[in-house]
Amino acid sequence: MDPRQLEHIVVKDNDIQSIVMSYLLHNCFDETADSLASTTGINQPVIDRDNLERRKQIMHCILEKKALKAVELTEQLGQELLEKNKDLHFDLLCLHFVELICDGKSKEALEFAKTSLAPFGMVQKYVGKLEDAIALLAYEDPEKSPMFYLLSSEYRQQVADNLNRTLLEHASQPSYTPMERLLQQVTVARQYLTEENGKDAFPPFSLKDYVKG
């Protein structure tokens, strides 16, 4: 593809700022968003500030290993939210279980598992993850177990992201940012071109390489 062709496309600054702004708001970086607005002078879109505050609080709970509090706050936002998203509910409860184990509260963890997690054990798709989580009990040092991923911050971030999207959906807001959508589109468009014209003409889109310049 001829890079000179790109020069002909005009991209407005306003558009780019909108994209960045929507990303910040999606991920609850409200202070950064305010900062950007005041620096560039663009208007922040009218968004539900209250919803953003709540989401921010809930995300932090998860990242700070307070999964049960996150559940409580979520239920405040909407009773049926977790009932309709059982997968998410299960992940949050599992996180709490893992937190208890990491705190050395094995017996409490067991009690919690018996009351809150056991019902999920009846459904085939949760059994694997449930067994993994409970298996942590076999290890004095859960970090050294093969299931250590359950303790990682990456995993917590993943669950937090899922919850974030669900909350946005519930508030009738888009669950994916324009930024993500754009990147997804580029990747898919590239794939189509590659299929039509061969690998050498259009290598698959890689954001990492792009950013490196």
Partner: protein
């Protein structure tokens, strides 16, 4: 007690003594077993292993662990696995007592560090949460513990008997044309019956019919023989308890046409006969009286059969339909429509699930599933003249116009497939019937137009193993006594029936 015994140097003396000791114990001779161990100086079980297994039987797991650590003579194949198994039992005991602390402790501090059986280990914490995840039977646990030891350390119970049974079984397998009852097998001599146990000599000739005998069949209990003839009658013959000779019990008269088949009810109390293009009659064996007649106005009967439980009759009629009647003569609705061809033979499997029928124009056998109402059709290589079902309903014996007999496997779960093909006999104009028989139904016997009886063994398709001359006319049908491996009966155009037995010379 060193060294080996026997000509091949394969049997170690110490092992022979040990399996003999085990055999003595299983026969109840504990005292002799102890004496043998004392006098020979050879123990059935090493004392340290015995101590270990005894402690295990008493569920003294900690004691077992201690023995493993301290006893020099206790050699296991993998010490860590052994410890794991024992600790697992201790863990489960703590769980049962609701002792969570000790259970967790055992798990985390003693079992996990062993570094073995990871998958099994990771399933254990679930037992805290899901109480009834299935408890292993104690026999399973002891079996696993026994397997910890090297193979020769423990003699499996009944080992000697098992070795002897294998040997006898091999003798049976190696005996071509084996046709002797299991009671003939002995530890005292090698078995080989070769063809000597196949009925091959006429021991009795039954005279009673006044025309060609077309069909015969032994009763299920082997005490009676029923035959049917062109002379419009059927005869029930009874075996004399002492002499083993047959005599006529009843002559069933009433048909006005030749009797094509005569078949026994499952309880042997009744028979049904089918007149050629006429009616079907049911008779009482005890009295010889005709109890009921079945048929359709203006439609003649071609063949018949019993419902598997004896509660009704099947009739294949000349209007190309199959009818089912209750014993009292009322018709039962049958799902099959009119067939495309004349049906010549029909039978129901003994579980009541299938109705097998054969037509003569198309080269096919129909298997009708009475439950699903579906039909499976087997295509055969030539016109079928008759068929016969094996006793276990798994095999179908099919006589073809091409002078071949085919055996099809129809076990219901897979597609029917042909497994054997036999030939050698003669058939060109008449219906010739064959049957399964002999040890484990491994033999096939058939009539033939050359007046001889042919016998094949299913392991040897190449040719018949026996050909029995004697009759003076085409042999139309044969039947092998289901309760006597050594008795065969044949029906012939020469108006007689021959009973065949062993040639004892």
């Amino acid at each position: 007690m060193e060294g080996t015994i026997g000509s091949k140097g394969l049997v170690k003396k110490t092992e022979l003594v040990r399996i003999m000791t085990d055999a003595l114990i299983s026969l109840g001779f504990n005292g002799i077993a102890t004496d043998l161990q004392n006098q020979s100086g050879v123990n059935l079980l090493d004392p340290t292993i015995r101590h270990f297994l005894d402690e295990a039987k008493r569920k003294e797991w900690n004691s077992c662990i201690k023995l493993l650590q301290e006893e020099e003579g206790l050699q296991v194949r993998d010490e860590k696995v052994a410890r794991f198994l024992l600790l697992e039992q201790i863990f489960l005991d703590f769980l049962k007592d609701d002792n969570l602390d000790d259970a967790l402790n055992t798990l985390q501090e003693e079992m996990t560090p062993l570094g073995v059986k990871r998958r099994r280990l990771e399933k254990l914490p679930s037992k805290f949460v899901f109480a009834d995840s299935g408890e292993e039977r104690f026999t399973e646990v002891t079996r696993k513990l026994q397997k910890l030891f090297p193979p020769a350390a423990i003699v499996p119970e009944g080992r000697l008997v098992r070795l002897l049974e294998e040997s006898l079984y091999h003798q049976m397998r190696d005996c071509d044309y084996h046709n002797a009852p299991d009671t003939d097998m002995s530890l005292c001599f090698d078995h080989c019956c070769w063809k000597s146990k196949i009925p091959s000599k006429t021991v009795q000739t039954l005279v009673g019919h006044t025309d060609e005998v077309w069909f015969l069949k032994f009763s299920n209990n082997g005490k009676y023989l029923a035959s049917s003839s062109k002379d419009n009658t059927a005869i029930i013959w009874e075996i004399n308890a002492e002499g083993g000779e047959f005599s006529m019990k009843h002559k069933l008269e009433g048909h006005e046409k030749p009797v094509v088949v005569v078949l026994w009810s499952p309880d042997d109390q009744q028979v049904i006969t089918c007149g050629e293009n006429e009616v079907i009659r049911r008779w009482d064996v005890g009295s010889g009286q005709c109890l009921q007649t079945y048929g359709r106005v203006d439609v003649g009967s071609i063949s018949c059969g019993w419902l598997h439980d004896g509660s009704g009759i099947i009739g294949a009629m000349a209007d190309r339909r199959i009818y089912l009647w209750n014993l009292d003569g009322t018709e039962i609705e049958h799902e099959q429509g009119q067939r495309g061809q004349k049906i010549y033979d029909v039978a129901m499997t003994s579980d009541g699930k299938w109705l097998v029928s054969v037509g003569r124009e198309q080269n096919e056998i129909s298997l009708f599933d009475r439950v699903t109402r579906g039909e499976t059709v087997i295509q055969v290589e030539g016109m079928v003249t008759s068929f016969s079902l094996s006793r276990d309903d798994k095999y179908l014996l099919v006589n073809l116009i091409t002078q071949e007999i085919h055996v099809w496997m129809i076990d219901g779960r897979r597609e029917p497939r042909r497994v054997y093909k036999f030939s050698g006999h003669k058939r060109s104009r008449f219906v010739i019937r064959s049957c399964f028989g002999g040890y484990d139904d491994n033999f096939i016997a058939s009539g033939s137009e050359d007046s001889q009886v042919y016998i094949w063994h299913t392991d040897f398709e190449k040719g018949p193993c026996c050909v029995l001359p004697g009759h003076g006319g085409a042999v139309n049908c044969v039947s092998w006594n289901p309760t006597d491996l050594h008795m065969l009966a044949s029906a012939s155009d020469d108006k007689t029936i021959r009973i065949w037995g062993l040639d004892l010379e």
